[in-house]
Structure formats: C-alpha cells, structure tokens
C-alpha cells in the first residue's frame, strides 16, 4: 500500500551462502545505517555507489559482523529511494541479528515484492513492465502465503491462531462490558483483564522460546567449544570436521579469534565455534578475548567444555564446569581425571583421548542425540519465520503494556490489546474488527 516508511529484508535467497545481502530502502535508510555501521570515515562522507568496509555494532557496542556496505543515494537506485546494502557473512545467525537490529532501529519488514513495487511506483520501471510487477507481487504473495500456510498448518500456526482467538475473546469481553453496561453479570474488570493478559503472554513467550530451537533446523545448531588453553579444543574441532567437508570462516577479533566452522552432521547443519582459551589473566587484551568467549557460551545452544584430565580442581574450573552442557575430559590416557567426579555431579561427561581418536564418536552421538531431541520439540511448536517472530515480539510488547498500565479505566486497556491483536492478525491474515463483534453475540447473551 502507500507507504513512505523504510523497509528492510534479506535480498539473497534463504539458505547457506558465503555472503548474504541485506537491503534497506526508504527515507530513513541512511539514518538507520548510520546508527549500526562504523568505519574509518564519517558516514556522511561515504561516496554513493561505492563499497565501504566496516563493522555492524549492536546497541551495546558489541560487534555483530564485519561487512561491506554499499550506500546508494536516490534517485539512482532500484527503488529510486535511498538504499543501503549490507553484504555480511551468510547463513548463520549473523543475518538474523543484523536484520533484527535494523527493525529495532525503525525499519519495517518488507512485504512480498515491495522493493519492486516501489521501483515501479517511483517510476524506475517502465510501463511495459507493469504486468510483470503485478505478477511478481502475486507470485511472491502466494509464495509467502504458501510458506505461511505451511507454517500455519503446523502446530505453531494453530498455536498462534489459538492465542489470537484468546485475545479476541478478551477484547470481546471488554467490548460487551462497555457496550452493554446494564449486563453486569457479563462484565470483566481490570484485574481480570490483567490476569488473562498474563496467561496469554505466557503462551506467546513459549512460542518465541521455541523460535530459537526452530532456527536450529534451518540455520544450524550453534556449538561452542571452550576450556583452558591446550586442553584439546582444536583437536576436537579437527576430529569432528575431519572426515566432513567443512567450511572454515575466520572472523578475526580484536585480540583473539573465534573460529567458526560449519559442517554437516548426518544431514543437520552444525556451527562450531572454537574459542580462545579461558584463564584468569590481568592482560587486558586477553581479557577481551575471554569476554567474547563468555558471550559465545551464552549464545550457543550447546557448550562443550574441554579440560585436561590432569588439570587441577580450582574455583575457575568449577565455574567453567557450571556453564557447560557437556564436559569432555581429555587426555585420559595420561590421567584418570577422577578428581573431578564429585564436582561434576549430574553433568554429562565424556572421557576421551582425542589425539588417539578415542571418544570422538561418543561426542558425535551426543550432538546428534541433542539435535534429534530438538527436532521432536520443533515439530511440536515452532516459529521459524523471522517476520512472524517480529510480529509476536511486538504483540508481546503491547501485552506487557497492558500488565504495567496503571490506568483506572477499562477502555484504555483495549488500546494495547488491539495492538497485540493486530500484530498477530498480520501473521494469520485474519481481520480483527469483525471477529470481535461476531464473538460478542456468540458468547454473550446481551441485547433487549
């Protein structure tokens, strides 16, 4: 429709590629890019239509990716609006993170065919191509509808529809209370509204929790491998990657590198992160590397701690053990490592001698088991579409406002509930208004 807002989307096809391109178009494209991109020169001085090397930084000044950025000033662009293209590392979490950051900074998810539609409306594409543009919108719409239907037929779709219906019910209840004040038996009050909203939020949050699991199937399981220096982390990576065809991407950090290895384990995409060795140090530079490792642990689905069986049982080691999903006690050919037994408690432990390839299969099996277990969860309830996730997040924001709202009038609570309903309606493609009125007369016995 007629929109003057700024849109963003990944322009390269979904799937694993070396490089992904994220495109931003609209009046605020430069403004948004300026907020997330740093490079050696002033943003405004970047020459139009020239690639610039730099970094994408999030709100906490954390590096997301090193990228090439293409700034294109209107009107000499595809949409005849200001355009930014971000060429980042493909496939992995990176594109998702960058896109989310752009949404947070004010970009809106692009509708199907929207770049081309804008190109047409702004006179970039000539008349003879109009037909093709319409076909494109139709086909992209039907494609995305198909995708949406596929998803909506799954349990996730049913779940969203169910939650949406609960909001409709709640809003109809508020509407009845307002439109039929003489029917006090059927009225709902603010306290009850908040309780119901809280319950709805819980269900929605469950969906977003699963979003991460859902992504694993598409974008790969993130496994971080960490531990003290020289425990055998690199050996483990090499053994795991050994027979596989691995793509190795080096993302150089400020001080220490995190090495990212993509491989395929029995058909599942897996991303291994080899981190800097963790140890207590006063060295500032090394500390930064360690900080990065800690973040990597936080963001990974699986964290594998590798320790030398001969390592001493110290407080530091105990902290590391606590963060791990599974502990690999390496070099057991030299030391039993039994001194850790008590500390390990219930934790999963695999004893290895990696250099002799002992225990590698067991680790592989552990990872596959984790994935298979995850797969079960995923078929249960999964949100995998990033646009859907965005709408769910916005719905949650609106519902949170309902909970926090300190107003004394019921009517005002309908405002944020309606916002949440509209966000979910964007996913299910249902219209909001009619539903509520339908629902009032179905569920409440009111009227003279």
């Amino acid at each position: 429709m007629i929109k003057s807002n700024t849109i963003a989307a990944v322009s390269t096809p979904p799937g694993r590629g070396g490089i992904a391109v994220i495109r931003i178009s609209g009046a605020k494209a430069f403004h948004i890019a300026r907020e997330v991109f740093t490079c050696s020169q002033n943003f405004d001085e970047i020459i139009s239509h020239q690639m610039t090397y730099g970094k994408i930084i999030d709100e906490n000044n954390k590096l997301i990716d090193q990228v090439l950025l293409l700034k294109m000033k209107s009107p000499r662009t595809y949409t005849r609006e200001d355009i930014i293209e971000i060429h980042c590392h493909g496939g992995s979490e990176v594109t998702k993170k960058i896109l989310n950051l752009l949404f947070k900074k004010g970009a809106a998810p692009a509708e199907p065919g929207e770049f081309t539609k804008r190109a047409f409306l702004n006179g970039r594409i000539d008349l003879s191509q109009a037909e093709a543009v319409m076909d494109l919108i139709n086909s992209e719409t039907s494609k995305s509808e198909q995708a949406a239907i596929l998803q909506l037929e799954g349990k996730a779709g049913k779940e969203i529809k169910k939650i949406r219906k609960e909001i409709v019910d709640l809003l109809s209840h508020i509407s009845v209370t307002i439109d039929y004040p003489e029917y006090e038996d059927d009225a709902i009050n603010i306290r009850e509204t908040k309780i119901k909203t809280k319950a709805i939020m819980k269900e929605l949050e469950k969906l977003t929790e699963n979003f991460e699991t859902g992504l694993i199937l598409r974008e790969g399981l993130n496994i971080v491998i960490y531990g003290p220096p020289n425990a055998g982390k690199s050996t483990l990576i090499n053994k795991l990657a050994g027979e596989e065809k691995a793509i190795v991407t080096h993302i150089p950090g400020t001080t220490r590198d995190i090495i990212e290895v993509h491989l395929n384990m029995k058909g599942y995409p897996v991303n291994l992160y080899d981190t800097a060795g963790i140890r207590n140090t006063d060295d500032l530079i090394e500390n930064i590397g360690i900080e990065k490792t800690k973040n990597a642990i936080k963001n990974a689905s699986l964290s594998i701690l590798v320790i030398d069986a001969a390592e001493k049982d110290t407080d530091e080691i105990r902290t590391l053990i606590n963060q791990a999903s599974v502990i690999v006690i390496n070099k057991t050919d030299l030391d039993s490592g039994n001194k850790f037994n008590e500390v390990l408690g219930e934790k999963d432990v695999i004893r290895t001698s990696l250099i002799n390839s002992i225990g590698v299969e067991e680790i592989e099996k552990y990872i596959i088991d984790y994935l298979e277990k995850g797969k079960v969860e995923i078929t249960e309830i999964t949100l995998t579409n990033q646009r859907h996730k965005r709408h769910v997040d916005l719905a949650l924001e609106a519902l949170q406002k309902v909970i926090e709202e300190n107003e004394q009038f019921l009517d005002l609570f309908a405002v944020d509930l309606t916002e949440a309903l509209e966000q979910l309606s964007c996913i299910t493609g249902e219209s909001a208004g009619e539903d509520i009125i339908e629902n009032i007369f179905k569920n409440f016995c009111v009227g003279k």
Binding site: M1, I2, E111, P112, G113, K117, F120, L121, G123, L127, A130, E131, V133, M134, D135, I137, N138, T141, S175, T177, I178, D179, Y180, P181, E182, Y183, D185, E407, Q408, F409, L410, D411, L412, V415, S431, G433, E434, I436, I437, I440, F441, C445, V446, G447, K448
Partner: protein, 625 residues
Amino acid sequence: MEYVAGKYDAIVIGAGHAGCEAALSLARLQKKTILFTLNNDFIANMPCNPSIGGTAKGHLVREIDALGGQMGKSADQTLIQSKMLNLAKGPAVYSLRAQIDRRKYQQELKHILEKQENLEVRQAEVTDILFENNKVCGVKTNTNAIYECKCAIICTGTYLKGRIIIGEISYEGGPDGLFPANRLSESLKSIGVEIMRFKTGTPSRVNKRSLDFSKMEEQKGDTPIVPFSFETEKIDINQISCYLTYTNEKTHQIINENLHRSPLFSGDIKGTGPRYCPSIEDKVVRFKDKERHQLFIEPMGLDTEEMYVQGMSSSLPEEVQDKMLKSVKGLENVSVMRSAYAIEYDCFDPLQLKKTLEFKNFEGLYSAGQSNGSSGYEEAAAQGLMAGINASLKLDHKEPLILDRSEAYIGVLIDDLVTKGTNEPYRMMTSRSEYRLLLRQDNADMRLTEYGYQLGLISQERYDRFNEKMRNIEEQLIRLKKTVVSPKKANQFLAKYGSTEVISGITLDALLKRPEITYQSLKEIDEDHVALDLFTEEEIEISSKYEGYMERQKKQVKQYKKLENYLLPEETDYSALQGISMEARQKLQKIRPVSLGQASRISGVSPADINVLLIHLDQKKRENR
C-alpha cells in the same frame, strides 16, 4: 385521475426519526420541502423502547446536535429519566441515555415540523418514485397526486411490505398497529433496486397498576441531569424510575415447552433478525446455562400507565407470552396492554448507496434510516440528517459533506453500511470505531460544530459560545503545562488526595494527569485558577489526562487518512483488472469505492489486491500524462 399537486426542491418519504431530521435540515437550508407520513399522529414515533441514547447511540445524538440536528434538543425537552452510563469505564465510552415521554416527544417533533419555514407536512402514502432519465423528478401518492421534485429521500423505516407475526398469527401491518406501505418497494424493485428482507421485534407493554414493584430493584436516574444538546443549559425535573426483574426457570420451561409454536423456529420468519436484539426464546435456546435473564420495566411517559418490558421481545403466541410474563417476579398479575410481536420488512441493500446516501444508479434518490438496513432511532436520525444535508448541498451544486471514520460515529455508521453492507439490522457500537478515544461524546461539538456552522445549521450565537469554549480549553491547557509548583506546595496538596509525593517541581498539567486529581481540586494550589462551565472543565481534564493515548490514536489516524485520500477514479472498470481475484473484482465493481482506503475495507479484497490496484492506477495516470 392523476394530477400535479405541487413542485418542491425536496421530498421526504416517512416522518420517523430519519425523515424528521432530513426534512428539517433541508427546510432549514432553505429548500422547499414536503414531508409525507402515513399518519400525522405518529410522527417521530418510538415503536420500540421509550428511550434515546445509550452506548455509541448517545454519541450519535451528540454528533447530530453538533451538526445542527434536532434529536438531542427534543430529547432534552421530553426526557423523564437520565443516566450517564460507563462512568467507571473511561471517558471515551461515557454514554448518555434518557427515558423519554414517548407521546410528548411525538408532539414536540410534530409541532417543530409544523412551525418550520419551507416545510409542509402531508399525510399520504407514496406509492411510486418518478424518474426522468434515471433522475428523480417526482413522487406519486395513493391518491394519485403527483408531487414534482429535484430530489427525494426515502425514510420508510420498517413499513415497506411490513408483516406482523405473533405466534401462528401473521398479517400485513406496520409497527404499532399502523398500516404498512405495500406498493413503494414493489415499484422500486421493478426499476432494479435490490431489496433485502429483515426482521425485528418488540416486547409487550403492560399496565403499571398490575405490577408489584416491591419485588423488583428500583433504577433511579442521575442528578444532576447532563443534557444531550450543547445548547440546553439545564434540565430540572423530577425523574421517574425504571425497575429491574428477572426471568426464572419457570419462564424458561414455558418457553421450551412452546418452542414449536415460535415462527422463528418453525421457519415461518425468513427475514434476518438482529443478533443484538435476540427474542427471549432465542436467548433461552442459545444460552441454556443461564438461569435467568434480566428484564427492565420502563415507563412509556408521564401521562400513561403503560410500561415497556425490555428483554422480553418475543414472537411466541399471545397466550404463551401471557404465561411467560406471569411467571416473572412482580408480574404475577400482569395486565398486558399490547402483545410482543415480530415484524418483517423490506429494506435496501446499502451497498447500492454512495457515502452521501444517494443511490449510485438513481440520481437525486436518497435513502436513510432503517430502510438502509440499520436499526435504532439514533442511527436513523444520523442518516436522515446526513442525507438531508447532502441532498441540499447537491441542489446548491456544492461539494458533499462526508464524515470519515476518524471524525464521527456517523462516519463509521455510514462507511460500514455502504462499504461492508449488512446482513442484519445494523446497530452502532463503540467497538465498531477504530478511534474511539478520539470520538467521545464530550467532544462531539469540537469535532463537528464547525461543519454545522459552515452549512448554516448552527446559529452565530452558539458558534460564538463554542469558539469561546475552544479558546478557554486551549489557553488553560497551555497554562497548566507552563505553571510549575514547588515540591513543598505540591506535596502538601498531594498528601490530601492520597497521591504519591514528588521530589522536584511539577507542572499543574502533570498533577492533573494523576487519576486522583481533578481540575476543580487544582484550584487549591493554582493561584490563577479560572472557573469554567462543567463541559469546558471536563474537556480540559480529559485532554490532559489522556493526552498520551490520544496522541497514539492521532498517529493511527494519519496512517488511515493516507489511504482515504488516495482517490479512485469514478470511471475505473474493475471487471477488466487483471491480477485481482475474481471476488475482489466483482465486489469493487459493485461497491465502487471512492478511495483506496474504502476499497481495503471491503470484505474479500485482500492487501495483495490493493497493491495490484495501486499499480493499475499508477499505470493509468502515466498513460494519461
């Protein structure tokens, strides 16, 4: 033999709530007008409940008043009880409702019509509309009189081919024992107007002397009475009470045992009834778990013992109704004065109308009120007023007055009817409005008085007073925002009202935003306090307290207006549009929306269709360039 009886600018057919407003606005805008009614003694009749206003309906009355209509003023003159509903639920949904002395209201309206310059009132049945090249040129009555005109507004309510149903009995008839109008809808059908068949109903009327109010809950009115009209200064009357009682298991048993005799269930009634006015048998069948349903006993007026039993609408046979009523607490000895009945009637599919309420295919012919598939006195009056105004503007070759969804409930009402159509009598509800925090009953004058004044329906004196109010509100809001109070002074004040303390200085506006603080109470720490009338003070309070919410809605309105302002060329041939679904093409071709916004509200038109439409239009524009 036919004869020409006169020549008029405008003819209004039917003198119910739509017809009265239409005729008055035309005449007040200097159009020579004649108003036809089947019976002079039933002008502005209330054949159903004796009340005006209520949720969303009260808003409509205020809007009618702000545009210079009659309903609010006459309701103020004849009300016998008044209530402001929803006071605990938020200022946007405060709703005024009044019990009306039905007979007085009729007399009041009849006399106002009779006294109105440029207006004639004539008792006659209009049987045909006369056309010249699809343009209205006159009407014919049952007495073969021809009245020539430039435009005609149909306000026939539930009279067209009306049929009354009471149990197994049914007969041709209009409401309240009046004649139906049998010929007009046939003649319109023959020229291609699409007719729908709707159904509605009304409960029994009973004699007050036969009721035992000691077994019921008394429902008193509010004091002081808040008037509907912004022109009414004060209403000082002794209010009459309503009473609340309930149906019970026995009532439900009687209904269940006699269901087979209900025409609704036997299939004898084919018309579509309103879901929001379910008959008592409908309620009992659909909500089996409900042990009781409430009934309000409302007075019909001061000079009568007749009372209305709200909640007991039914089309069961008379003797079953009698049993049902007698099973209710307080009604054991009831003496029924009129039976409940269902009525079926012809009305027009409103999708045939423009937003001015003129028929798309018949120039100069308008329809307003229940004949458009709506329900309710207020909905009818609002449409009558808008049809009258727009017919008058057209006669003057001026641009029409179209209120949009962000300006008025009237805008929502008409847009819904002509864009979405309706498959049951359409009732106004606050939930139908997207921007209800902006469309409040308190600010109806601020939204619409300017239009009323520009049209010539609002007097200079009222307009001057209105402008003074606007000025006062603006001045005070600015001053409250600017005036800072020291924490010491503020905390003393806040403690008194149980509000939390502040650490630094605070503006009066910020204080007013707190729920515990009113404009009145601010007086205690505001040295420059200005005492204003109640309406103005209320407005200042609401504007300050809900500023944040209103700003949010204003932003949404901006988005909405973008699509509303994207106009669709009238000559567009939607049936030839490629890339749009067949259903959407047919709907667009039939409804012919004026804007992209209106198109997007048509059911069956998807966002993808709108996108394609947008591209087509752009293509067209470029071709023409």
